[in-house]
């Protein structure tokens, strides 16, 4: 069964029709990449999945996004619960200006998922190990998260998401502020994480999509042009626009 089913989904910023009738089925425990030129709506689509878009004024949507069979846009859906289940990592690492430990523990404590210190400690350690950050920072957990390098900060942000036990992780151009070596390491992390989580990544970087994803969606001007296995999109796409874009003729 598809983990995320997007059905006839439309999104408007006031009068601007930003997403036009999107239909995609995103499979479980795979990495799905969303690519396309700037302004094509790929980030908007990603942010619609956990409804973090809701905080923007003047947005309205039609259609459905079903996660595990239930529509997240139904009335009475607890958005906070949804967002806990569908974590997101943003373009720029955005750790809170508090300690490394407190960053990871934040969601646990505030959402009252865990309050016993031993449980919180354990989860923090596990989450930091999952993002391969533990060994580097285990002796400075009480230091400010802003003292870390950008790559470490981005890993920390992923750990912060993992700590509240989501099933889906959305990544919005997670490497765009990192250097190529750091990018490579975050990509390796994504490949490792896909065993446990369903991952959707928006990226500008074609090679990245090719390297990390199983499926790729190509978007253009708010529309989904093509969605298929990554290999097919990059070697033998069925639409001409896709071919033009992945071969670098435009975009």
């Amino acid at each position: 069964m598809a983990k995320i089913e997007i059905k006839n989904f439309n999104l408007y910023y006031a009068d601007f029709h930003a997403l036009k009738n999107i239909n995609i089925n995103i499979e479980e425990k795979r990495v799905t990449a969303v690519v396309g030129p700037s302004g094509c709506g790929k980030s908007t689509l990603l942010k619609s999945i956990n409804r973090i878009n809701d905080i923007i004024e003047g947005i309205h949507t039609t259609g459905e996004i079903n996660i595990a069979g239930s529509n997240t846009y139904d009335e009475g859906v607890d958005v906070n619960l949804l967002r806990r289940n569908v974590g997101i990592v943003f373009q720029r690492p955005n750790p809170f200006p508090i300690s490394i430990y407190e960053n990871v523990a934040f969601g646990l404590k505030v959402n009252r998922i865990a309050s016993r210190k031993s449980v919180v400690d354990e989860t923090v350690e596990k989450s930091l190990k999952d993002v391969l950050l533990w060994n580097d920072i285990k002796d400075k957990l009480r230091k400010s998260a802003l003292s870390l390098t950008l790559e470490q900060q981005q890993r920390l942000c992923i750990a912060r998401v993992i700590a509240v036990t989501p099933q889906i992780i959305l990544l919005d151009e997670p490497c765009s502020s990192l250097d190529p070596i750091a990018t490579r390491r975050i990509e390796e992390l994504m490949i490792k994480l896909k065993d446990k989580y369903t991952i959707v990544i928006v990226t500008h970087n074609m090679q990245q999509a090719a390297r990390v994803s199983h499926d790729t969606a190509f978007m253009l001007l708010g529309q989904l042009v093509e969605f298929d296995k990554t290999e097919k999109i990059f070697t033998n796409p069925s639409k001409k626009e896709t071919d033009d874009y992945v071969t670098g003729r435009f975009g």
Binding site: I55, R84, R92, N94, P97, V110, S144, V161
Partner: protein, 284 residues
């Protein structure tokens, strides 16, 4: 047409601007100098801690100091929570609709009302209509209305300076809006809010017109007992002793001004130190 040498005109305009900016320091220094020179001799432990004697020409100004402190602390206790809550609403919740625009317009207008009008308003509403009488509480309520727009504006700026990405990150972890405000936005905005609050304390400590008709008395022979008491207040006391009492020793007048000035300057210094301290600690 006369052509100026560009280098010369550059120097001239630099000089002009520099002098204009430096002029701002002059009045401060002159005021400080005159007040300290004439008033320092009046300052003593007794002056600060005893009741006025012989028609206020001798003795101390303790009731006026306590009166000002009690009016100001009551005013802050009223205006700070309301102002901060209003700022949170406007900055974090309010949609850009008619109500919000009316509230914002009201705040701007409230800030522009002359202080004597607040005094008359306080007299009409708190003293007469609500029958609070001329009292600490009536004066404090009047001052708190006057200070509300300042508190709201400075608090809003402080809230606004907290990066949007912090809110986004917190909400995306499934943390509710209010919890995000409580755990992320407010702690990071607190330094700015406090600085604004301290500065407004400094400002209202010296206000005369609003308390003239609502709280201050010419002379009260005892220290304030309750918030329904009339009190003496430093700015009003200063006005009285410098205009209404014949044969007033000059150094007592200047000494009183010095005490008022010191209270205001101490507050401002605390605000400045707090701002420097928090700015250093801020890491984004």
């Amino acid at each position: 047409m006369i052509k100026f040498n560009p280098k010369l005109s550059q120097k001239l305009s630099y000089l002009l601007l520099c002098v204009a900016a430096s002029l701002a320091i002059v009045p401060v220094l002159v005021i400080m100098f005159i007040i300290i020179k004439n008033g320092a001799s009046a300052i003593s432990w007794e002056f600060l801690t005893s009741m006025p004697k012989s028609g206020m020409r001798k003795g101390g100004i303790l009731p006026a100091i306590l009166g000002t402190l009690s009016i100001v602390s009551c005013a802050v206790a009223i205006t700070l929570p309301i102002g901060v809550c209003a700022a949170i609403y406007l900055n974090e919740y309010a949609k850009n609709n008619l109500l919000t625009r009316i509230i914002k317009l009201a705040i701007v207008n409230l800030a522009g009302v002359p202080s004597v009008v607040y005094g008359l308003f306080g007299l009409g509403i708190f003293v007469t209509l609500l029958k609070l009488g001329v009292s600490i509480i009536a004066g404090a309520l009047t001052l708190s209305i006057m200070e509300l727009p300042v508190i709201i504006t400075t608090s809003r700026e402080a809230l606004n300076s907290v990066p949007y990405s912090f809110r986004e990150a917190s909400l995306s972890l499934g943390v509710s809006r209010w919890q995000t405000i409580r755990h992320i936005v407010l702690p990071n905005a607190l330094p700015g809010i406090l600085t604004g609050a301290i500065l407004s304390i400094a400002r209202i400590s010296g206000e005369t017109a609003p308390i003239l008709l609502t709280a201050a008395a010419f002379y009260v022979p005892h220290l304030p007992h309750s918030i329904l008491d009339q009190v003496m207040a430093l700015p009003y006391h200063l006005y009285i002793i410098s205009t209404q009492i014949p044969n007033m020793p000059e150094n007592v007048v200047y000494g009183t001004a010095l005490v008022l000035l010191m209270i205001v300057l101490t507050m401002s210094c605390i605000a400045i130190v707090a701002r420097i301290y928090f700015r250093k600690r801020r890491k984004w």
